[in-house]
């Protein structure tokens, strides 16, 4: 009975053991973690399915072999076993698994030793964690970090290079700045010591520079006026007349006289400053500009040249000429009348020979008187007191008067004179009739004088909008091209006319021009040497009520 009971008990234990074995086997096979069992000799005695899958070795191929052959680090497992045994705990090491397919897989190998009831080592469990993906990620990360580091090193180098370049640029800029400062100082010295007065206005007509000479001229201080607008300057008593003279635009003035006070006459010119601008607020010299055309206007420079002395000398000269002319005219008139009396026989009979000599003397005296009159006219023009009797006059009548007065002369020279009049009566002009006649006479005289015998002089008169235009055309010697610019200057006589006519003062066209311009008119000409000249002038007309 007891034997039967023992047998049943044995049977039950055996069945339990088999169930347990199947359980362990199933569990072992299911376990996704690659696990192997190794005996104390380091020989594999069992592996699970996951281990087979990872290593690609089946149980038959791998059980009974030393574990070391599975790893790149041949002594790695041995060392791990020793470490596990000595430290009696689970140890994990990173190793490289060599699969049957020749693949190398990074794994973490965890080892745990097994003990029997007596604490004796009976083997090890080893589990493998495939960390290849992690390693790959880590390697990629390290690679990226390296690349980024390299990039950063590159960038750092670039930055360093840029820094060096910037320092070089800075050095260059410092040098350029120093040179600019030097130039500025030179310019400043020139401006400061310039004998002309200078006002510099910006594009908004604000005063931005005033040199010491300008301060002296007007008795002003730059510090009180800088950055003031032209309208604000108008309120400064010392400058108001200048501001009015300059006008709001401060342009288009060239060598115009401006009397500041009794003993100070300035010649004023304005220059538009154009070009690129870099305004430096800290600098007293705000412009770095060129005067190239077509560029933006940056401001205006007003140059005030002191011409007081020149004017005084000129005035004294004019006064002298005027005085001398006056003093000469009286005796010349006396001579004229005496000669006239002699020629007319009022003082007794004279021989033909005597008459001839006296006529020549009379003629020379006449020319002398004419010259003196011209000199007086010039002196009066320069004194600014030439016109004094403007009246409404008929220009047509004036022209006819002059033509008629030259009838004999033109006939004598064989020159045909033609006067082309407008069909309609022209408006009157407000002129000093005597002076205007003189102007027409000067032009007509030149036309007759410089025409060849058999030539023709045509005088035309026509009306235009609010003006009349007179043209006097000859087909005479003309004016050389290279001398045309000087035609209206004092004492000018063209080289070709000097060869054919020794008479003439060279003052006629100067006087004429001044007369025409003094009446608000314009004068101009066209000429070609050996073909003739045409002189034109225009005068503003004056209708009833104007004036």
């Amino acid at each position: 009975m007891a034997e039967e009971k023992l047998s049943l008990e044995y049977q039950r234990i055996k069945e339990d053991l088999e169930i347990l074995e199947r359980y362990i086997e199933d569990f072992f096979e299911f376990l996704p973690l690659p696990v192997c069992m190794v005996n104390p000799a380091g020989i594999i005695i069992g592996i699970n399915r996951a281990f087979q899958d990872l290593t690609c070795y089946n149980e038959m191929e791998i059980v009974g072999k030393e574990m070391g052959f599975l790893f790149l680090e041949k002594k790695g497992i041995k060392n791990l076993e020793e470490e596990v045994q000595s430290r009696q705990t689970r140890i994990t090491k990173e190793m490289v698994l060599l699969t049957k397919d020749g693949e190398k897989i990074s794994v973490n190998v965890s080892g745990q030793f097994r003990k029997d009831e007596g604490g004796n080592l009976i083997g090890y469990f080893f589990a493998l964690f495939d960390i290849s993906a992690l390693k790959k990620f880590q390697q990629e990360l390290e690679k990226k970090v390296k690349e980024k580091t390299k990039d950063l090193e590159g960038k750092t180098k670039e930055l360093e290079d840029s820094g060096r370049s910037l320092l070089n640029i800075l050095e260059d800029m410092k040098e350029a700045l120093r040179q600019t400062e030097e130039e500025k100082n030179k310019t400043q010295a020139i401006i400061t010591n310039f004998t002309d007065g200078l006002f510099l206005f910006d594009r908004k007509s604000n005063l931005i520079l005033l040199n010491p000479q300008a301060e002296v001229f007007f008795g002003i201080k730059a510090g009180d006026l800088i950055n003031k607008s032209i309208s604000e300057l108008n309120a400064v008593p010392a400058l108001s007349s200048l501001v009015k003279f300059l006008g709001p635009e401060i342009t288009g003035i060239f060598r115009k006289e401006f009397q500041v006070k009794e003993n100070l006459v300035l010649e004023v010119s304005t220059i538009a400053i154009t070009g690129e601008v870099e305004e430096d607020k800290s600098s007293s010299s705000p412009f770095v500009a060129t005067r190239e055309r077509g560029e933006e206007k940056l401001g205006t420079l007003v140059i005030l040249h002191d011409v007081t002395r020149e004017k005084m000398v000129e005035r004294m000269k004019t006064e002298f000429v005027s005085l001398a002319a006056h003093q000469l005219r009286t005796p010349l008139s006396a001579i004229k009348w005496t000669l006239k009396m002699l020629l007319d026989g009022d003082l007794g009979g004279i021989t033909e020979e005597q008459k001839s000599f006296i006529e020549k003397t009379y003629s020379s005296n006449e020319r002398m008187i004419a010259l003196i009159n011209d000199l007086l006219s010039v002196a009066r023009i320069e004194e600014g007191r030439y016109l004094y009797k403007p009246v409404l006059s008929d220009i047509e009548l004036m022209i006819e008067f002059v033509i008629n007065s030259y009838k004999e002369e033109s006939k004598k020279r064989g020159i045909k004179v033609e006067f082309e009049k407008p069909e309609k009566k022209l408006p009157l002009v407000l002129v000093d009739a005597e002076k205007m006649r003189l102007a027409i006479q000067n032009l007509f005289d030149n036309a007759i004088r410089y025409s060849r015998p058999g030539g023709k002089v045509t005088v035309s008169l026509k009306g235009a909008k609010k003006e009349v235009e007179v043209s006097i055309k000859d087909i005479g010697v003309g004016i050389p091209e290279n001398q045309k610019e000087r035609v209206f200057t004092k004492f000018f006589r063209a080289a070709n006319v000097m060869r054919i006519d020794t008479e003439g003062s060279g003052l006629g066209l100067f006087i004429t021009k001044n007369i025409i311009e003094a009446h608000g008119g314009k004068i101009w000409f066209e000429s070609e040497e050996n073909k003739g000249s045409t002189f034109h002038f225009s005068l503003p007309t004056q209708t009833a009520g104007e004036g």
Partner: protein, 203 residues
Amino acid sequence: MNQKNISLKEEADRLMRLKGNSRGEILRTHAIYILYRKGEEGLREVEKKMEELGYPLRLKGIHPLSWYPEALSVLVILCAREIFKWKDSDIFDMGNSAPKYSFIVKLLMRYFVSLRRCFEEAPNYWREHFDFGEMEASEISEKEKYLVVRVKGYKFHPLICNFHLGYFLRIAQFIIKNEKIAIEETKCIHKGAPYHEYVISWK
């Protein structure tokens, strides 16, 4: 039945008349090996042959710790040899592979902590597998690198000597880490000796 089957049948019948049981685990390791080498089809062929011989056996239903006639174990090997034309070397390999997946070996692994311990436990090891015969741990010299074990009272078929050669060698290979390890059957009960004697040596 052909002549071969008749002789195998006779052999089977002879074997089955012999007394002695072994653990089902031995049959199970046979099954695993056949499955490994020849697959499911091979396993079925062996089962079919066993059935033809009059000793049907479902190899996948073996209880590892139950006792089965040792004759069945021997007969399975004979069938496999006949069906698959296995040579002695295949039977040796079958025995050499068996401990690799033996549940009992894993259970007894606690004996495998050292060569001497393993050697000393050999008789118990035998008793865990067989209810007949015995194993004698005859001699060991770690200095001279050899050991001698003897199996007494086991006389089923000479073919099994090859199986045991492989089996015992594997057990030694579990303990001795040496590639040049050899086993030799110096005495065989089938050759008139009173027991089987196996000498394992290594360098």
